[in-house]
């Protein structure tokens, strides 16, 4: 059954589940008429069994880390240990109200305080705020702090943020959101930031630079100290995009590289379930000079070592609050359990095996005849394969390979990113895959290459085995249609 209807289409008037438990709600009579809804909400009316089957069927259509190798570069799709979920779901955590009195909240505050300390230790920053609710919000918080820093010094000539041309698109977007103009810095042939171009670009107008290290090209930025010196000497600050932190966890600290602010994607590096827009968590770490501007609340300790919230009274120059309470606390707890299970020694193993797996996979694919974008560089936790020759002859693209991989039971790698490499697949195996899983992926790539040489049309038509076939990307972009309306079917 390929066409699973929407839950609304399963709906039948009057087919409802009544809760079997006692009604515990309070008296609603004191809600003013103006605030009461006049019509019933348009919720689907289905039996419990209908709902269970519907969502189970949808889940069976998914590629997920629980079912498939998922080498989606730059996304760090690693195994999410069940223990993290189990412990974060303890009734004491689930029942915790964010406005509970501090004396009743010492347990959860202790966990969050511990997590702040662990993240400080592993990144080399002087303080960490856990409140940003996703990577994008962490980036926003980071650049907002850079802005607050320059503003506090009355240094209002700094209007520009530098971004390498290999950067994630979120970097220029964040700089623009924070009121900066963006200047792109080119990458040299070896995948490093072009330092000559950087020197020419910095000046009294430079607010800062946003860097990912290892970069999105899957290589370590070797001249990071020189870059930090150039930007700092010009009066700018350095922002570390934590997208690729998995490659260096426990090995190198962004604080030691000279960064002033960092965001950490806990949902990636600290292995909480993500993808599909699920809850993220993007804590920010700061150097001494940005500490006054860090977003609140943080967890601190009072004179008697009891935990308490730090707020605007403690940090009057803070850029403020980014969420109603403490960010995505459930995700923070999962990350905390993950960090506890690993310990300091385990953190290093993450970087070791993430890098080993990537380099093993790269070496095997190269031996099988595939071209690497940066053949002279050792990969970090991910690497880029380019199919530009295949695109000319026999005429199959990175997208064709990606779609055909689905038929072979693999989630596709990231396609066409970074933008500066033609026909590329960005492949990140992560540390949690076995050698057998990596070998199977190589075999699939080799088989697809053989298919391409024999008959291009095989790839052009892929995927064949999934609920939906090749999608029309152009129509999807131009005639986006996401709403469903009763009686009218799809509406624009």
């Amino acid at each position: 059954m390929n066409n699973e209807p929407l839950i609304f289409e399963h709906s039948r008037p009057g087919r409802i589940n009544r809760a079997q438990s006692a009604h515990l709600g309070g008296d609603l009579d004191d809600i003013p008429d103006t605030l009461r809804r006049q019509r019933r909400p348009g919720l689907p009316e289905v039996s419990e069994l209908d709902a269970v089957r519907h969502y189970t069927r949808l889940s069976q259509k998914n590629f997920s880390i629980d079912t498939h190798f998922y080498p989606l570069g730059s996304c760090t799709m690693k195994y999410n240990p069940r223990a993290c979920n189990t412990l974060a779901s303890l009734p004491g955590f689930l029942g915790q109200h964010p406005l509970s009195a501090v004396r009743d909240s010492q347990g959860i505050l202790a966990c969050l305080w511990d997590l702040q300390e662990m993240l400080k230790a592993v990144t080399g920053m002087c303080a960490v705020s856990l409140t940003p609710m996703a990577g994008a919000q962490g980036e926003f918080a980071g650049v907002a702090m850079i802005r607050a820093y320059h503003d506090a010094r009355g240094d209002d000539a700094r209007t520009e943020i530098l971004v390498p041309d290999a950067a994630h698109g979120t970097n220029p977007a964040t700089a623009t959101m924070c009121g900066y103009s963006v200047r792109e810095i080119p990458t040299d042939a070896q995948g490093d930031v072009d330092v000559v171009a950087l020197k020419a670009a910095v000046g009294p107008h430079t607010a800062g630079i946003m860097l990912t290290n290892p970069s999105t090209l899957g290589v370590f930025e070797r001249r990071i100290h020189e870059i930090a010196r150039i930007v700092h000497q010009a009066g700018g600050l350095l922002y570390y995009d934590g997208a690729n932190l998995n490659a260096i966890l426990g090995k190198v600290k962004p604080g030691d590289m000279g960064f002033d602010v960092i965001h950490i994607n806990l949902h990636k590096t600290f292995s909480t379930p993500h993808g599909g827009g699920g809850p993220g968590s993007g804590p920010v770490g700061v150097s001494e000079r940005l500490h006054p501007f860090i977003p609140i609340p943080l967890v601190g300790r009072d004179d008697n070592s009891a935990f308490r919230w730090l707020d605007e009274h403690d940090l009057p120059q803070s850029i403020g609050r980014l969420s109603a309470h403490m960010g995505n606390t459930g995700i923070l707890l999962r990350a905390y359990v993950y960090a506890l299970m690993l310990g300091r020694e385990g953190m290093v193993r993450i970087a070791d095996y993430a890098t080993l797996n990537a380099n093993y996979l790269m070496a095997r694919l190269r031996a099988a005849g595939f071209d690497m974008a940066l053949p002279e560089r050792r990969a970090t936790h991910e690497f880029i394969l380019t199919l530009k020759h295949q695109a000319k002859e026999p005429g199959v693209t990175a997208m064709d390979f990606a779609k055909r991989l689905l038929d072979y039971g693999f989630h596709a790698p990231t396609t066409y990113f970074p933008l500066i490499i033609p026909e590329c697949l960005l492949i990140e195996p992560t540390e949690t895959e076995s050698k057998e899983a990596l070998d199977a992926f190589v075999e699939a790539m080799v088989a697809i290459q053989a298919e391409a040489e024999k008959d291009v049309e095989t790839l052009k038509g892929a995927p064949y085995s999934l609920p939906v076939r090749r999608l029309d990307d152009v129509q999807a972009a131009r005639e986006l249609d996401l709403r469903w309306q009763a009686n009218g079917g799809m509406a624009s």
Partner: protein, 131 residues
């Protein structure tokens, strides 16, 4: 092999320029650029009347793969933008050098034309990138 008409001028950032002989020049993106970008979904053009400086970002071509800035190779006032692309951005893919033009500009400084690449130099650049 990319189509690189010999009568046009080019830039390193893959725009083409046609000198119209009436003090204006037409600008688009090269066949090589449209091939790399893939199927176009939106094109954002400068407003006629806008004054541009050479090297300035002035248009955006968005494909299924990426949104890319287009830089004006020449300074001057925009005299026309290709409205056809609003409804039919795919024209950039099907006819990059004719109906797929992006905008026309009134030249301010003829000396800027010397900075542009001829077809031969541009072909070399593309071959180098393809290596």
């Amino acid at each position: 092999m990319s189509n690189i008409p010999s009568e046009l001028k080019y830039t390193k950032s893959h725009e083409w320029v046609r000198i119209e002989g009436d003090g204006t020049a037409t600008v688009g993106i090269s066949d090589h650029a449209q091939t790399l970008l893939g199927d176009m979904v939106f094109v954002e053009l400068p407003e006629p009347g806008a004054a541009l400086e050479a090297g300035e970002e002035c248009a955006v071509v968005e494909s299924v793969k990426a949104a890319s800035d287009v830089y004006t190779p020449l300074s001057g006032k925009v005299v026309a933008a290709n409205e056809l692309l609003e409804d039919a951005p795919e024209t950039v893919n099907t006819d990059a050098y004719n109906d797929g033009w992006l905008f026309r500009i009134r030249l301010e400084d003829e000396a800027e034309l010397k900075e542009l690449l001829d077809a031969e130099a541009y072909a070399e650049l593309v071959a180098e990138e393809d290596h």
